[in-house]
């Protein structure tokens, strides 16, 4: 009971938090890039872009920050036995994330928001870059911590103390899983920011408003999206092979592959049950799973039954299989949504290839607006896949999820917090989305020299 509630709470709060985080990371770099363009060229359009996208960035950033505090607290609150078990290893990257990354991003973002007319232009520009670097550092350390749970390296379980103990911190930081996860996540952040800028630019271009700002914006978005998408594919491919070696059960669960086969086909979708007993119909592409898992079209891929048997051999009798329908569909939706987003960039770049005067077809603009949900859905599916695919382990091979939950916290307490967080986060989502829509509709500030009353550079302290 407690276990399920605690897992639901972690899922709700973490999925929610991660709606905002990738946009923060990706957009911080795009805004920094726009401001750099302005500082270099003094072209007013870049300043207006910086202002407009910077505002949306901050609206998004605020929710990422406040929901981030919960993330750090709830390991101890709901997962105290986990915390006792992993603290010696997992705590260090978490603490370093705060010291190295959170201080950097929040301090320099404060300087950026309020420093427009108080800092020299280049110093002010450096502030947004430092904040952006902070977001990226933060991603590295938290992913190193998570990757250790997927693939524990540099540590041993000390039977005397009953906990995992750190032996080689360098190994934790250079964990191949962490490098892969970081590369995949960061490129996904750029996809997220790319689609965000694309969808909103498309919305304005469809209405023909502020085209002088949104035409360059849509190019920035499409290029970002293309590079990000290529990166996501390459890094995802790299991760799949690592996963096959390090977490064979997860790879098998991604395909609902019960028996070890060679070569293994990839099913685009399946009609029927995924419990290994009967499959009504599936659309399959030969050799693709082999290629994902091993890099060769006729490589062997281990099935769930074999991995289960091997795990039972190593860890004793038990069920070592994650929830297969969840992993199977999450994996497909992640890839599907991601590929659709990538496709959009290819089409978009083709359609906008000529001079900036050539009109972009309305169907493409409409499609781009609708596509806004794609990266958020893909990011969510990716995390659901990778976390659900690790089950029943909390730390692979070391600690089961069932053994990580807080024994002293009552089900009532977890119910209360689950309900409170869900309602609060729901309300925040409504407010945030409403604010975002208003600011999107309002568009960028007017060009310099126009409407001197609403000057494009308001006094800094005014933001409050």
């Amino acid at each position: 009971m407690n276990l399920d509630l605690a897992r639901w709470q972690f899922a709700v709060t973490t999925v929610y938090h991660f709606l905002f985080v990738p946009l923060t990371i990706g957009l911080s770099f795009l805004v920094a890039g726009m401001q750099t363009a302005w500082v270099r060229t003094r072209d007013d359009r870049y300043l207006r872009m910086t202002r407009f996208w910077g505002k949306l960035f901050l609206i998004n950033f605020a929710i990422g920050v406040v929901t981030g505090i919960v993330q750090e607290f709830q390991f101890g609150m709901n997962w105290s036995d986990y915390s006792r078990f992993v603290g010696d290893v997992f705590g260090a990257p978490l603490a370093i994330e705060g010291l190295l990354a959170f201080f950097l991003e929040s301090t320099f973002l404060g300087l950026w928001i309020f420093g427009w007319d108080r800092l020299p232009k280049r110093v002010h520009l450096a502030c947004i870059w430092l904040a952006a670097i902070g977001t990226m550092l933060s991603a590295y350390f938290i992913l190193a911590a998570n990757s250790w749970m997927q693939h524990p390296v540099g540590s041993v379980v000390n039977d005397a103390t009953g906990r995992a103990e750190l032996k080689d911190f360098g190994a934790v930081l250079t964990n191949s899983t962490a490098v892969g996860a970081f590369a995949h996540t960061i490129t996904a952040c750029f996809v997220t920011a790319g689609v965000f800028v694309l969808a909103i630019s498309a919305w304005h271009l469809r209405k023909g408003t502020h085209t002088e700002v949104f035409r360059p914006s849509i190019r920035v978005a499409l290029v970002t999206l293309l590079i990000g998408s290529l990166g996501v594919v390459v890094t995802g491919d790299m991760q799949a092979r690592l996963m096959t070696q390090q977490q064979p059960m997860k790879m098998a669960a991604a395909e609902a592959l019960y028996d070890t086969v060679r070569p293994a086909s990839f099913s685009l979708f399946t009609v029927g049950s995924l419990d290994g007993r009967q499959e009504v119909w599936s659309l399959r592409v030969p050799g693709v799973l082999s290629f994902m898992a091993t890099g060769s079209f006729d490589g062997q891929v281990e099935g769930i039954r074999d991995v289960q048997a091997a795990s039972a051999q190593t860890y004793g009798p038990g069920d070592y299989t994650p929830n297969i329908p969840t992993t199977y569909w999450a994996f497909r939706f992640m890839i599907g949504f991601g590929l659709l987003a990538g496709l959009l960039s290819v089409v978009g770049l083709w359609l906008t290839r000529r001079r900036a005067t050539r009109p972009i077809p309305r169907w493409f603009l409409s499609a781009s607006v609708v596509a806004l949900f794609l990266p958020f859905a893909a990011n969510t599916m990716g995390w659901i896949f990778t976390e659900m695919g690790r089950q029943p382990w909390l730390v692979s091979g070391m600690l089961r999820t069932a053994n990580g939950v807080s024994p002293s916290v009552s089900a009532t307490s977890v119910w209360i917090s689950l309900v409170v967080f869900t309602l609060l986060y729901g309300a925040l989502a409504v407010v945030e989305f409403g604010l975002m829509v208003r600011y999107v509709k309002a568009g960028p500030p007017p060009p310099a020299g126009v409407e001197p009353i609403a000057a494009p550079e308001p006094t800094p302290s005014v933001t409050y």
Binding site: A62, V65, V66, G68, I69, V70, E72, F73, F75, G76, S80, S83, R84, V86, G87, D88, G91, A92, L94, A95, I96, E97, G98, L99, L100, F102, F103, S106, F108, L109, G110, L111, I113, F114, G115, R118, R163, E165, L166, K167, F169, S406, P407, S408, V409, S413, S417, L424, V431, R438, Y439, A442, G443, A455, P458, T459, S461, V462, T463, Y464
Partner: protein
Amino acid sequence: MELTTLWFLIIALLWTGYFVLEGFDFGVGMLLPVVSRDETDRRVALGTIGPVWDGNEVWLLVAGGATFAAFPEWYASLFSGFYLALLVLLVALILRGTALEYRGKIDDARWRRRWDLAIVGGSFVPALLWGVAFADIVRGVPLDANHEFVGTFWSLLNPFALLGGVTTVLLFALHGAVFLALKTTGEVRTRVIRVATVAGPGLLVAGGGFLAWAVLAYGPLWTLIPAGVAALGLAAGTLLAARGREGWAFLATACAIVAIVVTLFGTLFPDVLPATDPANSLTTTNAASTPYTLTIMTWVAVAVTPVVLAYQAWTFWVFRRRLTRDDVGGDAGLPARSGAHAR
């Protein structure tokens, strides 16, 4: 020095940083309705903490992360044991942070009033709960042999803890008032100085009582010294504020906060979370990580903390000027009615 002792000190230092810094922005938040007569005043008051509050709050995240890394057992017992209290705290911090960022985004009195409520409540509740929590930590909580908390939420609300809560509310109110006095001019400054002269004596009574109780009931005798320093700092801060010497007053209240953290951690040591049955207490030794982890963390802390201190100090230097009513005249956010496009 033992690494575990060093990390006990580092964690005390992180909490000190947190209370000295976010202490004043909690104070500004709590005092918002008291010190402002109109919207311009409120914007002046919030403008003083606008650039820095988020960076201040990171001290909490680092204190939490460092506790997790250096004393996992402490982190686990404390956070699971204080579950509902922390839930309330988190809700308050979430509402407050969102409010600080969103209140100025829409130019509408009703919108701002709602967020102001969140700022005031979201500053008051953590200010209260931190005092309650630290008093309970010093006093000790019921832990079983596995260091699991076996008390209830209500057992955390004992007289000593409540006095601790009153102390931190008044402490942050005074600290925030002095900070506001230092950063503003004119009527806001006059009003806030009046607040300081009221909060100061009240704090001396409540806080003096709390610290005396903590030292006499739980601490070694030497903690009387920091407790005395704290009392002196608070008295000096109040008097200096009343005389318009806000810079010195702020230094005095900051020193008082340092002294209070030293007192509380002094009474705590060598425990980190005493249990009602001393056999089950968590100490710097039995709650700690391995020497290897502590060594690595020490190197990181030694390398990074001075840099953080330097750029945070620089931020305060950049925003050192007093804010006036003329400084906050511009952009008040989008107009209240949606659909008003700036074409």
